[in-house]
Symmetry: C2
Subunit: 144 residues, 2 copies
């Protein structure tokens, strides 16, 4: 565990470290990525989980518009750039050991590429996994 995050475990409320110092202490994986959970700030729905690299994290903080790293396309992914469904950053949090980010966001429309509000529509019920949400926008209308 990074000593900066270790040190912060017993820090008093209000104690701060400079953002650039914290950013440098984040624990990226071997691909240079860190998981980021996006939670709708007012309803508290967990919308999705995606990955950031250092560049997408810096851009998100600088612009207030959430930018991930697309592992499938190997490029920066400004959420909403093709679907129009943007995520605006309300608050950014880091966990105790600095290896996960929690984003409070304001999500326009669906967060999921299937047109559903969130990505977690597969729910375990007994010995089956069932779809329990419908798209709020037809995915054909999201990506034209």
């Amino acid at each position: 565990m990074s000593s900066l995050f270790k040190q912060r475990e017993s820090a008093a409320v209000g104690e701060g470290h400079a953002w650039l110092e914290v950013q440098a202490a984040l624990k990226m994986n071997t691909e240079g990525l860190i998981p980021a959970i996006a939670q709708q700030y007012d309803t508290k729905e967990v919308l999705m989980m995606a990955w950031m690299n250092s560049e997408s994290l810096s851009e998100t903080v600088a612009t207030g518009r959430v930018c991930y790293w697309s592992r499938s396309r190997s490029k920066l992914w400004r959420k909403g750039e093709s679907s129009g469904q943007e995520q605006h950053l309300k608050e950014m949090r880091f966990d105790c050991d600095g290896d996960t980010i929690l984003l409070f966001v304001d999500q326009t429309g669906p967060a999921c590429h299937t047109g559903r509000r969130d990505c977690f529509y597969n729910v375990l019920q007994g010995d089956e996994v069932v779809v329990d949400r419908e798209p709020i926008i037809d995915p054909k209308d999201l990506y034209k």
Copy 2:
């Protein structure tokens, strides 16, 4: 993307697949792990993010008590086994591409090893990252 999850993207509400088939289609990383987000089922606080392997996932489903894979200790981690602060499973969800799990849990006391209710107590404020929560139990009393 797994064809099972791809197929489910356009499934109607109520459409199911057998749990064992879904479990086999989950996308584990190169270490055989999948991220699991724990959210308190009633307040919707995001408590923590940790990792599961196939065995911990099966055990969690079978027992209803959340079991992760501890990457630092390389063993099954039955949440609360040393701290007494258990997580009981209320609902389990899988995202659109089958590479993230969302757990609705009922967490006894603090989820975080620092004694805080959740792990995300480091918040970005301007150009500083500030601690904004106190432990609800002294960590010295959690691990005796």
